[in-house]
């Protein structure tokens, strides 16, 4: 098998992966150590990335992510067309439950928060759009696992009642419920979730939230082309 891939491209992309919330700007040597590439190599790769607007170099010679990413990212999200229909649903869930509502899709081996509406409560589960969370924990994680891979355990959990619940699994203080959004053709689109502080989401409150999420997810799936 003749390795159907392009190495230098993957190196370039791994440079972009080196940036994070904690390290939004990097020097060339930082990138080199982070990625394990040679400085000269990084220098040439970044030149191309910069030329296309995927990186930009500040006056202090540090690299930052470039505007092209935001442009294409917006394009990606728009291509869902879900946004317009999902946002109102999230807002309604927030109004109904008082907790934070969000929508996740799969990104590699993690889940990506595509949309979210935060609770208005002072104590709440706050999360940024674009954040990545693990797949192995949390209600939405289980839903995505079940549909994206053939995760038997997660699928069994879903089969029970069509939704997932997690209490203090990923974060000991947070409970969440999630349900899959599936359209009329059976296509899976993502996971709808409500999450909040464990102490506020008692058994009955959690069950009510679960029902509301389930209802909202089904509604979304039905309304989709």
């Amino acid at each position: 098998m003749p390795e159907t891939r392009v190495e230098s491209v993957e190196k370039a992309l791994s440079i972009l992966e080196a940036f994070s919330n904690e390290q939004p700007s990097l020097t060339l040597t930082e990138i080199a150590t982070e990625t394990g590439l040679y400085k000269s190599n990084v220098s040439r790769l970044t030149a191309s990335l910069e030329r296309y607007g995927y990186l930009k170099r500040e006056a202090d010679r540090r690299f930052r992510l470039g505007p092209a990413l935001w442009r294409l990212g917006a394009l990606y999200r728009r291509s869902f067309e879900l946004g317009e229909s999902i946002r109102p649903v999230l807002r309604q869930l927030v109004a109904e439950t008082g907790e934070t509502a969000s929508f996740y899709v799969l990104d590699q081996d993690e889940r990506l928060c595509l949309y979210r509406e935060n609770s208005t409560e002072p104590v709440r589960h706050h999360l940024d759009e674009g954040a990545r969370l693990p797949l192995h924990a949390g209600a939405a994680g289980h839903v995505l696992s079940a549909y994206s891979f053939q995760d038997a355990k997660a699928k069994a959990r879903l089969a029970q009642d069509g939704s997932c619940v997690s209490t203090g699994e990923r974060n000991p203080h947070i409970a969440s419920v999630a349900a899959p959004v599936v359209d009329a053709t059976g296509q899976f689109h993502g996971a709808l979730a409500v999450s909040g502080p464990l102490q506020r989401l008692s058994d009955t409150a959690l069950e009510m939230a679960r029902l509301r999420v389930l209802l909202a997810a089904q509604g979304l799936g039905r309304d989709m082309l």
Copy 2:
């Protein structure tokens, strides 16, 4: 001069550029013709892009942009930290003027709408975040030209009163005013603009909007670190 760049990387990036609002999904051959690359080549490049989540392949074998772009795009925008301070300002401008307010940064040789708050009027200048517009026309375009390149003409225009006005320049029915956001260190960050239908923005309304934009831009610059 030994061409400090990596060709295959640039090819891969140009594949991403092939996607647009009009063509959010492409087949392999479409990409090949669009970019002028060979199918076999595209096949290998897309494999790498897909592996890193920059593209994804649907069930119908068509390519779409991938979630990694949204994640990194969100990261890029967050790295500004401007968002939190800019949004309220935009909202206030909308409230004051009744028109659409937006914030632009430079992206290559164009301008990129990073934030915008749409007017609530039924007839309004609507624009999506992430949209790209030309640099050579429109008030915000002139501001960006003046600061990003040493565009003498645009700079002279700014020197007059610290802002730019354009009436029916890019679009015959739209007028706009824009001012630069410059922090205490003299660093230029972007262009703040208000735009709306020409007929509603009479001379006096336009002048009032200009003053408000100018004021808001100065306030933003002052409040920035």
